[in-house]
């Protein structure tokens, strides 16, 4: 039966600038300066090689479970729009963006090898540490953005999360608060098609994730997440809008988790190798390399050069990490940052542990002597 249609200016658009073969849609060329283009390229290569290296270290048992980022390096294009004094609120698959922002690879290695020290935040402390509870982080970005608005800065907050995160209630609450208070925040969903074993199609019934922005009358855009130019441009528009006091934006980056969910995961249980093959053709780095080569910014030799540079950076980070880890850890540190000041119960417990460790040392020394 006929009903009156409410007119709502609904548009969800899709942005792609560099196609899978590195061909540029020149009408959409953001005209980024050469040095930025090269820095973006190097950032992605570094992320890729570091990721590959961590996988080796994990298989050697030198680090523990971690979340590979292979295939999702173009996320850097979004983070690259942030100024040093803007805020980054990551989840757990944003190592590329965090390192781009200045987090040391040493601390990434420390984090994944079981050292709380890996959580130390970069100088200035405007990057939140890695945080595992899915969907819970966007609210923090919204709250930070409230502060930025309240303090009349023109800074912004950007937060990253996955397609699975959009099913959590906190995601909904974050977008609602951000839109009600019109705070300067950019929500970046890395839709990598999988939440561990759950495909995007079973995560939510909607055709796109971007359209969820419509529930809040918030600008929403779907972007080719393997096209760093599109990611950069989309994020730029969102960040500019936020800085101009025009409120939050929601971006869905269409990308793919080429590797494991974590090193504890076995994707063969739930997805076909053909699918992965298909997506490997859309690799964000090869595509961008092709474009930069045709643009004359990259040559065989230059590519080699960059590869060597990042490999040596990774090597020195690894060395710093080894030296640090050889020092070992003081278990008593587990009490240090529990509170601003240790309350009596923790002072007692710390002393208990100190005595226990002492007694243990004595015992093992004795056993050693016995053996001699």
């Amino acid at each position: 039966m006929p009903k009156r249609e409410i007119d709502l200016p609904y548009r969800i658009e899709y942005l792609s600038i560099l196609d899978e073969n590195g061909q540029l849609d020149s009408a959409l060329d953001p005209h980024l300066p050469d040095d930025l283009l090269l820095r973006l390229y190097q950032g992605m290569v570094l992320a890729r090689k570091f990721d590959e290296r961590m996988l080796v270290l994990q298989r050697q048992g030198k680090i523990g479970t971690f979340a590979p980022t292979k295939g999702q390096e173009a996320q850097i294009g979004a983070a690259a729009n942030l100024a040093k004094d803007d805020w980054l609120v990551p989840s757990f698959r944003e190592a590329p963006s965090e390192v781009w922002r200045g987090k040391s690879m040493e601390s990434v290695l420390l984090y994944y090898s079981g050292y709380n020290e890996g959580g130390r935040v970069p100088e200035g402390g405007r990057d939140l540490p890695v945080s595992v509870p899915v969907g819970s982080q966007p609210l923090h970005a919204a709250g930070i953005a409230y502060t930025l608005k309240y303090r009349r800065t023109n800074n912004v907050a950007m937060t990253f999360f996955g397609d699975g995160a959009t099913s959590e209630g906190d995601f909904h609450e974050a977008l609602n608060f951000a839109s009600v208070f019109q705070v300067p925040v950019v929500f970046v969903c890395q839709n990598n098609q999988w939440a561990i074993s759950l495909p995007r199609s079973r995560q939510t019934h909607s055709r796109t994730i971007a359209q969820k922005a419509l529930a809040y009358d918030m600008p929403g855009l779907q972007v080719d997440g393997n096209d760093i130019l599109a990611v950069y441009q989309a994020a730029k528009e969102a960040v500019d809008r936020a800085r101009q006091g025009e409120g939050p934006t929601f971006l869905e980056l269409i990308t793919y988790r080429l590797s494991l969910h974590t090193t504890a995961d076995d994707p063969t249980k739930y997805r076909k190798q053909e699918e992965v093959k298909e997506w490997e053709k859309r690799d964000p780095i090869t595509r961008f390399a092709k474009y930069l080569t045709e643009k004359g910014l990259l040559t065989e030799q230059k590519i080699e050069e960059i590869a060597n540079r990042v490999i040596s950076d990774i090597r020195s980070a690894e060395e710093a990490w080894s030296t640090r880890t050889e020092k070992g850890v003081d278990p008593l540190d587990m009490f240090t940052h529990a509170y601003s000041q240790l309350p009596p119960n923790l002072l007692d417990q710390k002393e208990e542990l100190r005595l226990e460790l002492q007694a243990k040392r004595v015992q093992s020394d004795q056993q050693a002597n016995v053996r001699d």
């Binding site: 923090h140 709250g143 930070i144 303090r151 009600v180 601003s340 309350p343």
Partner: protein
């Protein structure tokens, strides 16, 4: 000194601190234009405006998570859960982030927020408006859990909570909101979080309590003095976690007898921790088992039966007599 009830005292603490420090903001459901369903934030929006006294959409997890974001970026949010019974919607945010941000960032970031919530029974309310579940917060490392018992302690502790560098969960005994008035100094007064106080001196038995239960405990002490000549010493915990066991330790070493009084369900409640601290620190001074005078291990019933659920004067008096008879 002006005499005021607990609602006025908390309102004063908020107002004075907001006047002093523009990083202090208040947010929650109906805290602005309405002034809060208990009028605790009454008048604040008129004085400080909607940017600092924020009426939020109806979402507790967001109120907490948003506050965490505000706090890591330099504000001192005081957020309200309209009733403690709905604060569990925000539990994961407090456990996963408010409690952990300092440790996770090795002290690089902190979450100086206060989560306020009216708690407890005795006001003839609907379901979910009367429980006392402070343990959920007290057992969570990284949080502090405070429960005042009078207008003056409420005002002083809230001031300390707002200034505390760590997240503080602040339960307000709603049964005491307007139950009585007390002199509260106009000039600033704080009270150190993590310290209990002696509410009544005595020599025969130690009564350990907090929040709304302090009143019946005091009344019971009066009755016991008048009818039995028993002199009770009452320790008002004020902070549940981190727990200050110094005063009740001293006290029981003097009296040799003790009871614990709280509204919360008995099993796995605060009483268990207190009894255990006494065993750990004063075993040889214990002349009798320490009794728990508490609510029962059921959901607090609707108001026709809630008075029989709550630990009242009669139950407390009986427990003291039993303990001294032991």
């Amino acid at each position: 000194m002006p005499k005021m009830n607990m609602v006025q005292a908390i309102n004063m603490a908020l107002r004075q601190e907001m006047e002093k420090d523009d990083s202090v903001v208040v947010l929650g459901e109906d805290v602005g234009v309405d002034g809060g369903v208990f009028r605790v934030t009454d008048g604040l929006i008129a004085q400080f405006g909607p940017e600092r006294v924020i009426d939020t959409p109806l979402a507790e997890s967001a109120i907490a998570g948003f506050s965490i974001g505000m706090a890591v970026s330099g504000l001192r949010p005081v957020c309200e859960m309209q009733f403690s019974g709905f604060s569990y919607f925000a539990f994961h945010q407090m456990e996963a982030h408010a409690a952990r941000m300092r440790g996770r960032s090795l002290g690089g970031l902190s979450v100086p927020m206060v989560l306020r919530a009216p708690y407890g029974g005795g006001v003839r309310a609907l379901e979910h408006h009367s429980e006392s579940r402070e343990i959920y917060w007290a057992h969570t490392p990284g949080l502090k859990m405070v429960i005042p018992s009078t207008p003056r302690t409420a005002r002083a502790l809230l001031l300390s909570a707002i200034r505390d560098p760590d997240p503080v969960v602040f339960y307000e005994p709603k049964a005491l909101y307007r139950a009585f008035r007390e002199e509260v100094p106009e000039e600033e007064e704080t009270f150190p979080i993590g310290t209990s106080r002696i509410a009544l001196e005595g020599k025969d038995i130690t009564m350990i309590s907090y929040g709304a239960s302090l009143r019946p405990t005091l009344e019971a002490a009066t009755e016991l003095r008048e009818k039995d000549g028993i002199e009770c010493e009452i320790i008002d915990l004020l902070t549940i976690s981190p727990l200050d066991d110094t005063l009740f330790t001293e006290s029981i070493r003097k009296t040799g007898h003790a009871i614990v009084v709280h509204e919360a369900p008995r099993s796995f409640g605060a009483g268990a921790e207190i009894v255990t601290r006494i065993v750990e620190k004063s075993f040889l001074f214990m002349e009798a088992p320490v009794r728990r005078v508490t609510g029962f291990d059921v959901v607090i019933p609707y108001y026709q039966r809630e008075q029989e659920y709550l630990p009242g004067v009669f139950r407390i008096v009986a427990a003291v007599r039993e303990t001294l008879k032991f």
